[in-house]
Homo-oligomer: 251 residues x 2
Amino acid sequence: MADASVHDTPTEPAPSFSPLYQQIKALITRELQAGVWKPGEAIPSELELAARFKVSQGTVRKAIDELAADNLVVRRQGKGTFVATHAEQHIQYRFLRLMPDDGVARSMERRLIDCRRLRAPADVARALAVKTGDAVIQLRRLLLSEGRPVVLDEIWLPGALFKGLTAERLADYKGPMYGMFEVEFGVRMIRAEEKIRALAADASVAEWLNVAPGAPLLSVERLSFTYGDRPVELRRGLYQTEQHFYRNELS
Amino acid sequence: MADASVHDTPTEPAPSFSPLYQQIKALITRELQAGVWKPGEAIPSELELAARFKVSQGTVRKAIDELAADNLVVRRQGKGTFVATHAEQHIQYRFLRLMPDDGVARSMERRLIDCRRLRAPADVARALAVKTGDAVIQLRRLLLSEGRPVVLDEIWLPGALFKGLTAERLADYKGPMYGMFEVEFGVRMIRAEEKIRALAADASVAEWLNVAPGAPLLSVERLSFTYGDRPVELRRGLYQTEQHFYRNELS
DNA sequence: AAGTGGTCTAGACCACCTG
DNA sequence: AGGTGGTCTAGACCACTTA
């Protein structure tokens, strides 16, 4: 095709005047969201997509470049482009930025404390964009490094999306929790925002983390989003930072 | 030119087999580092660079795309491409991720505590890649939000790079400190790594930050790098996080 | 009107992976 | 050998800025 404005014909109502590659990106994103291709699967090749959308390969390429930059998709030379996934990755905790002081990442032991079905408190409801009192699931768990407790997590999930989530299924599942969310519930975490502060351990927290009451802890409140910036998980973590630190990169 | 391998002729020793645009990127980076164009100035247009390097505009474009992604350069449509700068930007604190609880960023008051010339302690020397005992400059300062102290910073700089830095010059300078480093000392901060933990305020810190001794504080150790991943600043900040939080984005 | 970055195309060739 | 993504080119046109 020699003219990109073909896509602005009356057959399409008024598809906005964004660049073609942005429109292509939006189309592919919609199909990703709709689950046309499952996490870990290959999407069609650039040439095939170019033919389907009637644009040149370069335009599809630029769209996919951005999807890859957004971590929605992973390119592998010679093989294809694949839907990003939290499962089947060796990285156990994709979003956890905690590192041991010596810098050598070790795997951590998970220990589920409890899993309850509750009515959403006001603050949780606001974060998850549900109504106060709606059904939510609360998990609490501990992460241990070399036998010592390091992270106490309190995880809130909208009940509507995670029907049938039980302590047993959680305990049985090997691999990252976000991988399970994908496979079992079709919920894919795309990005997250964290609010970090320091606070003093109260008595019950101190017991779980095996520190003195009043000991300083890192409080990490993470809100995770799926497609369309829809919040789907609120996670409140308390990190014991005597042998670990939270690592961040600025640029 | 129809063949990129022209650049692999015997006239060039063995310029590595990286893609052309990566080589172009490296060349431009070297000129940025050498200060051929000053921060805030425009670099040559894509067409001019393409002519100079004897490649097509698209190849230069891809090189500059990456430089822009690395924040070394800023593109402005219709005007040109400009060397990134910490000065003349409205953003007062480019690397400071602290936000008030209400989410409305306010400007902060700076108060210099002292500025001393010292011999580098072992840990500081290791971070800055200088020898223990080498000359370093230590600044301490307070950031206040609405009159209340929020951040206590201890900043270490290699003496060799910052000759002539005095408390007076710091106090006189308006605008971001990193802007002054660029303009006055030719040192440009490119990226930084932070290690974050929670710790309890000791007596002297408690006094500066106007909190109770033992109060939990966020400890943020930032190592900043200039071109070539050369460390040029170590900053140890203690953040009072009762009305503020450290904001982070994960993806 | 002229110059800049931004988009799009069509086609070539390369590097990598698989059958 | 054939398919995939990765690089490179040459040229066209668009959108924005400045004079």
